[in-house]
C-alpha cells in the first residue's frame, strides 16, 4: 500500500519430511516470497508442487517430522524460531487461515457463533457477550443473511457457501494482518465460488489484508491476485504481476498451464491441450530443472543445473535458462 516493508518475507525456505528409514522428501526446495501489506499473491501449482506446504510453513503447522530451512519473517517476527507460547498468540491474531472444505473445518458439535466467539475470547480476553457482538458484526460483514439467527446454527445446518462465509468470518475474527487461503473455493459450486472470491477480494481491500491464495486454478488466481507465483516441484518457477504472467508467460510450465485451460473459445470436440508426462516424484527429482523431463524446450544444460530466476520484465522473473527460446517457441 504505502512504501512500508514487506509483511511476509520468506527467504530460501526448505521443508523436508522424514519418510521413515532415515529417508526424507524435500517438499519445498528454496522458496523466496515477499508480500506487502494489502497485496494478494496467488500460489499456483499442481498437487505436490509444494504450494500448501509453503503456506503452512507461514503458520508452522507441520508435523514434528518436518525440518525447516531458510527463514520466514511475518510482521517482523521470525516464525521458525518462535517459542510455542508466542506461536499460539501469533496464530489467528497476525496470520489466519481459510481451509479448503468448510464442512470439515468447522466443528460439528458447536454452534458456529460460539466457535467464532471462542477464538475472539482466546486472543482478546473479552466477555462472551462482547465476543458474540463481534461475531455478529463479522457475519454481517461476510453477508450471511439473518446473521443473528445464523450464529446459533450448527455447521450442518448451513449450505456450503454459507459455511465458507462463516469460515472466513472465523478467520477474520481477530483482525489478522495476513490471511492464508488454502484453495478456499475448490469444494464449492461454480456459482458459489465466484461469490466467495468476490467477497474475499472485497474484504481484502476494505481491511487492507495481505492475502496468500493457494490454488491450482489459473482462472481463480487471475480473479483475485495482484501477483502470481507458479510453483513446480517445490520451487517457484515463475513470479510476477498477475496480468504480466498471463500475457507474457516465460516459463514453459506456465505456458503449458495456460495452454491447457478450457477456454470458451475452444471448438467443441477439439482435444484439450495437456502437458505431457506426470507430476514429478519428489523423492526422485531430476538433478537439474525439475520440469526438464516434461519440457518441450529442454536441452542438455537443463538437466545439469537448477536454473535461477531470470528477470524477464518489471517484477517478473522465471526460472528457466531458455526463457527467450521457450516464450518464442510456445507462444508463437
Amino acid at each position: 500500500m504505502n512504501g512500508a516493508g514487506p509483511i511476509v518475507d520468506v527467504k530460501q525456505l526448505t521443508v523436508d519430511f522424514a519418510t521413515g528409514g532415515g529417508a526424507s522428501v524435500r517438499a519445498v526446495a528454496g522458496v523466496d516470497l515477499t508480500l506487502k501489506p494489502g497485496e494478494t499473491l496467488a500460489l499456483l501449482g499442481e498437487s505436490g508442487s509444494g504450494k500448501s506446504v509453503t503456506l503452512r510453513a507461514l503458520m508452522r503447522l507441520h508435523p514434528k517430522s518436518a525440518r525447516f530451512g531458510g527463514s520466514v519473517n511475518v510482521d517482523g517476527r521470525d516464525i521458525l524460531a518462535m517459542p510455542a507460547g508466542d506461536l499460539a498468540r501469533y496464530r489467528g491474531k497476525i496470520v489466519s487461515m481459510i481451509f479448503q472444505d468448510p464442512g470439515l473445518a468447522l466443528d460439528p458439535v458447536y454452534r458456529v457463533g460460539d466457535q467464532i466467539a471462542e477464538a475472539v475470547m482466546r486472543h482478546e480476553g473479552i466477555s462472551r457477550a462482547e465476543a458474540r457482538k463481534r461475531a455478529l458484526g463479522l457475519f454481517e460483514r461476510v453477508r450471511i443473511p439473518s446473521p443473528d439467527r445464523r450464529l446459533d446454527n450448527y455447521p450442518h445446518e448451513m449450505s456450503g457457501g454459507m459455511r465458507q462465509r462463516a469460515m472466513i468470518a472465523l478467520a477474520l475474527a481477530c483482525r489478522p494482518k495476513v490471511l492464508l487461503a488454502d484453495e478456499p473455493t475448490t469444494a464449492l459450486d461454480a456459482t458459489v465460488q465466484i461469490q466467495v472470491l468476490l467477497l474475499l477480494r472485497e474484504l481484502q481491500r476494505e481491511l487492507g489484508l495481505a492475502v496468500i491464495f493457494v490454488t491450482h486454478d489459473i482462472g481463480v488466481a487471475v480473479e483475485v491476485a495482484d501477483r502470481i507465483a507458479v510453483m513446480y516441484g517445490g520451487r517457484i518457477v515463475e513470479t510476477g504481476p498477475c496480468a504480466d504472467v498471463i500475457r507474457n508467460a516465460a516459463h514453459p510450465y506456465t505456458l503449458g498451464l495456460l495452454a491447457s485451460r478450457t477456454g470458451h473459445g475452444a471448438a467443441k470436440g477439439s482435444r484439450l491441450v495437456t502437458i505431457p508426462g506426470s507430476p514429478p516424484d519428489l523423492t526422485n527429482l531430476p538433478p537439474g530443472c525439475s520440469f526438464s523431463p516434461r519440457c518441450p524446450r529442454a536441452i542438455e544444460a537443463c538437466r545439469q543445473i537448477v536454473p535461477p530466476l531470470v528477470v524477464t520484465g518489471p517484477g517478473h522473473a522465471a526460472a528457466c535458462i531458455r526463457v527467450d527460446a521457450a516464450s518464442v517457441a510456445l507462444s508463437a
Binding site: 498468540r89 487461515m97 472444505d101 466443528d107 477464538a119 478467520a171
Partner: protein
C-alpha cells in the same frame, strides 16, 4: 411462467439451531424400542431405589416352614426362596446391588479409560504405541476370565468386584477413545482451531472432548449390561456379594439347588438379569442410531 414470476418471494427464515442433544432426544423419543427399554430400566431402577416403600415383606426374614413356595402362594406373589424369604421383595431389593454393580464399574472405567485413550490418541507417537500395547495385553484374556482372576486375587466382596470389573472395562473404553481421538485429531477443525491460536489444552477440551465423548458414552452404555452379567457371575461364583444380601446373581446361585423342585422360581433372578441387561443394550443401540445422524 408469469404466475411463478409474480408470486411473492418465499422468505425462508433461518432456523435457530436446536441443540445437538435436543435433536438427539427428539429422534430417540420416536424410537419405540429404545423408549420401551428405557421405561423398563426406569421402572426397575425406581423400584430398587424405593424398595423399602414398595416391597411387600422384609428381604431377610425367612421362614423354615415356608421354603420354596411356588409362584402365587398366598403371601408370596412370586414364591419363596430356599430360606422361605419372599422372592418379589428380594428381586426388588436385588436390583439395588445388581444395577449398582452394572453402572458403577462402567462409570469408573469411563473416566479412567477415556482419559487414557484420549491422552494416547491426542499425543500420538511412541507414547500412544506404548499405552495401547499395554492395553492390548488385557485383551488377551476373555473378560469373564479376567474378572474372575482379578476378583479371586483381590478377594471376595462388593468393593473388590467393582475394582476388578473396572479394570476389565478400562482397556475396552480406552481403545474406543483412542480410535476416535486419533480420527478427530487429524480433522480440519482441529487444525483450524490451532490456526486460530488454540493451545493443546483448549483443543482437547473443546474439539476432542466435544466430539469424542458422544461415541464413548454410547459404547459405555452397551457395557452396562455386560458389567451386570459379569457382576452376577462373580456373585454366583461366590466372589462378589455375600449372603444374605439380595443380589440377582447370588440369588441365582443359592436357588440353583431348587431347579428341579421350583424351576420357575429359580429362574426369576435370571429373568431379571436378562430383562435389565437387554434393556440397556437396546437403549444404547437406539442412542447410537439417534446420535449418528450428525452431518
Amino acid at each position: 411462467m408469469s404466475a411463478i414470476a409474480d408470486s411473492p418471494p418465499v422468505v425462508v427464515l433461518a432456523q435457530a439451531g436446536k441443540g445437538y442433544w435436543a435433536s438427539v432426544w427428539s429422534r430417540l423419543i420416536k424410537d419405540k424400542v429404545a423408549m420401551t427399554a428405557l421405561a423398563v430400566i426406569l421402572v426397575i431402577v425406581l423400584a430398587a431405589i424405593f424398595a423399602p416403600y414398595i416391597a411387600p415383606a422384609d428381604p431377610f426374614k425367612g421362614s423354615m416352614l415356608r421354603r420354596l413356595k411356588p409362584i402365587g402362594f398366598p403371601g408370596y406373589p412370586l414364591g419363596g426362596d430356599e430360606l422361605g424369604r419372599d422372592m418379589l421383595t428380594r428381586l426388588i431389593y436385588g436390583g439395588r446391588l445388581s444395577i449398582f454393580m452394572g453402572v458403577l464399574p462402567v462409570l469408573c472405567a469411563f473416566v479412567v479409560g477415556s482419559s487414557i485413550g484420549i491422552f494416547a490418541g491426542y499425543v500420538g507417537g511412541w507414547i500412544n504405541t506404548l499405552l495401547m500395547r499395554i492395553i492390548d495385553v488385557f485383551f488377551a484374556f476373555p473378560s469373564v476370565l479376567l474378572a474372575i482372576a482379578l476378583s479371586g486375587a483381590l478377594g471376595a466382596g462388593i468393593l473388590n468386584s467393582i475394582v476388578s470389573l473396572t479394570i476389565v472395562f478400562v482397556p475396552q473404553i480406552a481403545r474406543v477413545a483412542e480410535a476416535v481421538t486419533t480420527q478427530i485429531r487429524t480433522r480440519d477443525y482441529v487444525e483450524a482451531a490451532r490456526v486460530s491460536g488454540a493451545g493443546a489444552f483448549t483443543i482437547v477440551r473443546m474439539h476432542v472432548l466435544g466430539n469424542v465423548l458422544g461415541p464413548i458414552f454410547v459404547f459405555s452404555t452397551s457395557l452396562i449390561s455386560v458389567s451386570m452379567i459379569l457382576a452376577a457371575g462373580l456373585s454366583f461364583l461366590g466372589l462378589g456379594v455375600k449372603p444374605p444380601e439380595a443380589e440377582w446373581g447370588l440369588m441365582l446361585n443359592t436357588l440353583r439347588t431348587a431347579i428341579y423342585s421350583q424351576p420357575l422360581v429359580a429362574a426369576l433372578p435370571g429373568l431379571m438379569i436378562f430383562m435389565v441387561s437387554i434393556s440397556f443394550n437396546l437403549f444404547s443401540d437406539g442412542l447410537r442410531s439417534a446420535m449418528e445422524v450428525k452431518q
